[in-house]
């Protein structure tokens, strides 16, 4: 049996599941994007939704969301990579514990946890009081809440584990005896890191970055709460098309399909950077 056919055998079950519970609904969404506005929609062919989507307002919102998502992804990478690296270097029992500890906060309800953040970040909140007692920032209250900085903090907080776990997964099988071999041959730790460890962790970095970026882009509940709902994100825009009156389900569907196409293309291109070979036979 060739590798490819064996691969397809393994892929059969997941693809079948997705075909039924994702591809079928997706076909509905595509059809809806080509439908006319109605209550909620009219199943008559119309390209109106895609035309309405060309409003420059949407492009602006999309770009801003993308910029914020990119910034948050970069931060998650800069903070998450060292964390993953640190955990993987620990001896096994401690390693497992630290690994779990990264995720536990996220099993708490995100809405409630965001309110806890608000309690910390608000004027006269814990952060403010702590900073004041340390004598920083003079007389006025330290205002972080309901600013873009708070949104940025929130996004980084929520998606950090999505960066840490893929990177950890690709690092864990790194044979650290290789670094010993390299050291024997006179390489500095920095060279070892740059030439051996970093390239091997590339799949994890790419996967983590893509997962974080995509989710940051479409996130809006937490950013809305921390930002005081003063800036519109693309996820919120789409939600509004479906819920806020007047409804425009075809437009919401059209924006979603476009997003899928754009981000899908970006993912496809990014995967080119991942030069890992398939397992040959």
């Amino acid at each position: 049996m060739t590798d490819a056919s064996k691969g397809f055998r393994l892929l059969a079950a997941p693809l079948a599941f997705l075909a039924l519970f994702f591809a079928a609904p997706l076909a509905l969404v595509l059809a809806a994007s080509l439908a006319a506005r109605g209550q909620p929609l009219d199943w008559a062919f119309s390209l109106g939704a895609y035309q309405r989507m060309l409003d420059p307002l949407f492009a602006g919102v999309f770009l801003r969301s993308a910029a914020l998502a990119a910034a948050a992804t970069l931060t998650c990478l800069l903070l998450g990579f060292p964390l993953a690296y640190f955990i993987v270097r620990q001896p096994p029992p401690r390693r497992r514990l630290l690994y779990f500890l990264v995720l536990i906060p996220l099993t708490a309800n995100s809405l409630v946890l965001t309110y806890s953040w608000i309690t910390i970040l608000r004027p006269q909140g814990f952060l403010d009081l702590a900073l004041q007692s340390l004598g920083w920032f003079g007389p006025g209250p330290f205002v972080l809440l309901y600013t873009p900085a708070a949104v940025f903090l929130g996004l980084t907080y929520w998606y950090l584990p999505f960066m840490v776990y893929p990177i950890y997964a690709s690092l864990e099988k790194v044979d650290f005896t290789l670094s010993a071999a390299a050291a024997d041959l006179g390489a500095t730790r920095r060279q070892t890191f740059l030439r051996i460890i970093l390239p091997l962790s590339t799949p994890g970095i790419l996967a983590g970055s893509m997962l974080v970026f995509i989710q940051c882009l479409c996130a809006f509940v937490v950013p809305d709460m921390l930002g005081g709902s003063k800036t519109l994100m693309i996820g919120s825009l789409i939600q509004q098309r479906f819920l806020t009156l007047p409804q425009d389900w075809p437009l919401g569907a059209a924006i979603s399909i476009t997003l899928l196409a754009l981000i899908g293309a970006a993912v496809f291109l990014t995967l080119r950077l991942d030069r890992s070979p398939a397992s040959p036979r």
Binding site: L10, P25, P82, L98, F100, I104, N109, K173, F242, A278
Partner: protein, 267 residues
Amino acid sequence: MDFRPPRPRLDLPALFLRANAVLMYAFLYAPIAVLIAFSFSGSRYSALWGGFSTRWYEKLFTNAEIRSALLTTLALAAASTLLSTLLGTLAALGLARLAHRLRRWFETFFYFPVILPDIVMAIALLMFFRTFLPDSLGLPAMIAGHVAFNLCYVAVIVSASLKGFNPALEEAALDLGASPWRAFLRVKLPLIWPGILGGALLAAALSLDEFVIAFFVSAPGTSTLPIHIYGLLKKGVTPEINALASLMLAVSILLACLSLLLQKRNS
């Protein structure tokens, strides 16, 4: 055993790593501490501390609807985690065997459920189920919706783990006479296990917290905690909600401890 090159007296990189780790864990757990602390606040508004009180936990334990929602949420998370971990791992293993070009297409497809906004998926799922599988609305539909995107997270993470996997190891095992299943079990699986576990944990966390799909495909009488919390928050941020969230946190901590203990005992 770790053969590191000899270290200078002041090991800056290691110090940095440790400091970063401490900072990150503090960052991750700061709101958790606040959440749990305020669940014991006597005041109705979680913004003010109103003296220590367990009245919110008492209120929760006597609320039958919340109890039923908790059970539904746990069942949903368990089922969706198991199924998505299985399917996601199969997908990753399958992808690893494809040639680079072909694999890219399929891998991109696995990102689609992550990209599609949840409101769109939720409404489409409801319409789909209403038309073709109306009796499966409620828990089965919620599980289907959750597995659809969760399996992709697992697939992506386990894929990352599989890349760079040295196939020579597996081949060596096979050359030595091991059956394919055994070669997989003893060589490949232990190395991708962290990826599988990580994907599973993320899937569980996502399921426990998911509101939109659960709201739309829920049937009368089936509700999940995120749905309740969302509705309750409209009435104000009471410590009762903190207590609820703390309880769920306790459950997940318990499960994590359990699995840690099991692993310790097995190895």
